[in-house]
Symmetry: C2
Subunit: 280 residues, 2 copies
Amino acid sequence: MLTLLSENRSFGGAHRRYSHTSSVLACQMNFAVYLPPQALAGTPVPVLYWLSGLTCTDENFMQKAGAQRMAAELGIAIVCPDTSPRGEGVPGDPDGAWDFGLGAGFYLNASETPWATHYRMHDYVVAELPALIEAHLPVTQKRGISGHSMGGHGALVCALRNPGRYQSVSAFAPICHPQACPWGEKAFSRYLGPDRGQWAEWDACVLLATNREQLPILVDQGGADSFLHTQLMPDQLQRAASAVDYPLTLREQAGYDHSYYFIASFIDEHLQHHARALLA
Amino acid sequence: MLTLLSENRSFGGAHRRYSHTSSVLACQMNFAVYLPPQALAGTPVPVLYWLSGLTCTDENFMQKAGAQRMAAELGIAIVCPDTSPRGEGVPGDPDGAWDFGLGAGFYLNASETPWATHYRMHDYVVAELPALIEAHLPVTQKRGISGHSMGGHGALVCALRNPGRYQSVSAFAPICHPQACPWGEKAFSRYLGPDRGQWAEWDACVLLATNREQLPILVDQGGADSFLHTQLMPDQLQRAASAVDYPLTLREQAGYDHSYYFIASFIDEHLQHHARALLA
């Protein structure tokens, strides 16, 4: 069951926000969808799932990325889930930090108390939400996935863990090697516990090494991103890809930072990357 | 003197926020500017001034309108001032309302106590800010002006009151006849006092009737805008234009509301409208 929260006309299509009860996350969730004109006119369209970064909700990408123009032109829907479970009874960071808990679900399935009850964003994003979207909205079962920062990590991991589920994948400034950076170490140690063997299952650099599907990955990384060397580490992704001859296109965009001004500047090229697979 | 607050690379150009001391407004002000790649490379470019609506700051348009792509392509700078004076000592609405005072300067010069000291947004937008921009940034003296809602009113009034100052003008969902709508009546009665003769000097429908320059006006209005009939009244602008054969292009865009999703959908066409005059 989807409850429509709001709708805005946008480039001849519709931006909508819905809420629904997630059984996977055991809470009420909001998500946003952009339906291009083709979908409103009755032609099912493929879907690009966008996973946002730390502190974001379903709203940031829709308001700031400027993606609707090209999505309308290509005929691709975009779905933006929230970045964590929410609501009464969902525990957040005990210290109120912004890099763990609410707004920081890291797109994994937590195994540790008290997180395991609600923090199952991987299963939500990969299975429950698409099933809902495909049952209730005019879309096909062709799926792409992309995201930014924590959501770039999410996009890579969702695609790499689930061969055949996505036809295309890309990322902006992803956390490439979370088991070895401060944001990832904090999140993984709490959500997954102390066993680093478990952490590896949620790390793109590790997953890429044994992936047989080899879905081509496009990554854009700003050269002036203040998190580049401390948290994001695209050089580790490049090294992992080179070792197994994985088709990774990693582009360093000189002068660009970690903001939505960076994302907006290159989102058209990512949509075109996805369209080549989704509309083939 | 301009103090750089932040800079983001955007579509090969730069989005910057500056602060400065405004002598007209007697306070510290922030503004945002988008400089396209041509300007960064040393070629002075014309400037489109964008006036935002109630409750906004210099940030809304830059984050949500998606204007930078086309501005970069055309080679036009965009300047977004704040929507009122700000800071300690600047009085706001006594009841804390959002439609008067802070964030609601209405782009006029107030005559009444206690507003007259700081609320002189017309002179700031038309004279002080452009002088600063043209002295310190790589721009020409060709100027266009546009805006949304209260800022659409501001754009029309600034252009109509100052023949020769702007080469182009447009508006999204402007408050067309402020002296006869609730938002305008509240603001004008406080900023300008009870004499309605003074109000007429800040009303686009009145100013248009006696304007000799007849700069062509492009207005887009969403057909599903909830403020359409109560506050915006584009039919009054159409009537005033028809009476004097003023070159007004008023387009009702079916299904669109008052949000930035509407603005983003048509901003490219407005930029092209301005470019035809600014790059001629």
